[in-house]
């Protein structure tokens, strides 16, 4: 037995306070997502959701699986830093299924980098397209081995 009897109005106040605090915790568990605070003051699941996007570009490593011969040629010459998909286009489907052909690379890919531009660095070989010979780059240049002639 308690040494004194809790006055009923205090008991009521305690009950109301407990109800308010209880409903706060109930509402909190209802409103805060479960993964909140996993890494910080945000929803941890968001990271997985952002990462769940499917990649579009296959990457040079995927090309190397079948076309290592061309990549060896490429690596031996000045175009070694180029990515396959820069000229041949997005090739993820082609890397999954070789029957789907990648985009045919055309001369506009050469001009994209090699057209003379004042802001381009001097180390890059540049041409003024209208003063340069030829309608077709590949008549004189080998894209995979730029120092060679066909």
């Amino acid at each position: 037995m308690l040494p004194f009897k809790l006055p009923p109005q205090i008991l009521r106040l305690v009950l109301v306070a407990m109800a308010i605090v209880g409903s706060y915790f109930a509402a909190r568990s209802f409103l805060v997502p479960p993964s909140f605070g996993e890494y910080g003051w945000y929803r941890g699941d968001a990271l997985g959701e952002i990462a769940s996007r499917t990649p579009v570009f296959a990457g040079k490593q995927a090309c190397d699986e079948c076309h290592s011969e061309i990549l060896h040629k490429l690596a031996a010459d000045k175009h070694k830093t180029l990515s396959c998909e820069g000229c041949h286009g997005v090739s993820r489907e082609h890397s999954n299924n070789p029957d789907v052909l990648p985009v045919k690379a055309t001369g506009s890919h050469c001009i994209r980098c090699h057209e003379a531009n004042l802001a381009r660095p001097a180390w890059l070989k540049q041409i003024v397209v209208k003063d340069h010979y030829g309608p077709k780059c590949t008549e004189c240049h080998v894209p995979h081995q730029p120092s060679k002639t066909p």
């Binding site: 109800a19 929803r43 990271l47 996007r53 994209r112």
Partner: protein
Amino acid sequence: MKNQISRRGSLLRMGGAIAGLLTISVARTAKAAVQKVFVSANAPKGYDPTKHKWLMCIDDNKCIGCGLCAEACKKENGVPEGPYFRTWIERYIIPKPKPGSGETRGEAIVDSPNGGIPKGGVSAFPEPTLPKDQIEHAFFVPKLCNLCENPPCVQVCPVGATFKAPDGAVLIDPKYCIGCAFCVQACPYGARFLNPVSKTAEKCTLCYHRITRNLKPACVEICPAEARVFGDLNNLKADDPIQKFYEKNRVQVLKPHLGTEPRVLYAALDKEVR
């Protein structure tokens, strides 16, 4: 008398409401767990964001302004058509100073038509309006989210939708973003925009879906001049390109006076670049 509220009745009702809320929260937790399983079916497994620290390095001597990075970024991330870019290329033209002005250079002219992406095989950058003999020098600068250590965009977000992940990537939770564009204003590097389709803020995620799968970001993958170098400071390989980069070059960051401490390092940057 019938309508009078009894204490017992109201207490019961209150208890019932709390029990109801608790049941809903349990149901929600279960639903979230199911969703997590569903999401992680697509998300790469075994990626722990606390075990990585990403770093982007840009050698400005190497940028040739081809616009492949900006174009690849749009394709990779499904960025809408139009003037929306997560990464883009700027052209800086520094004119010669006026004779007798006592200055070393004129005021820089900066442009970035279509983010540097050529349209229909024609270079995005038109011939400068200044005659050639009045130009001191010109160069390209690739820009992207600077991956600040102290990101102003995170501070201003009123709903906590944008955050800095433990691996250094500044990301946006699209489910939380309300599209108020405070972050677009706050970013000192102009790296954010409102997606016209989803109406939420968007920015470079470092191709989070690629880096978590051990792939390079699309812009780094596609750059034909290796102007962009990307790596993980917490897992340096033997002669890692990023380690080589910051050991070999004298590096700087954009707007260092703001104290944002970017994780995007530039080499060979001109003082005009902001």
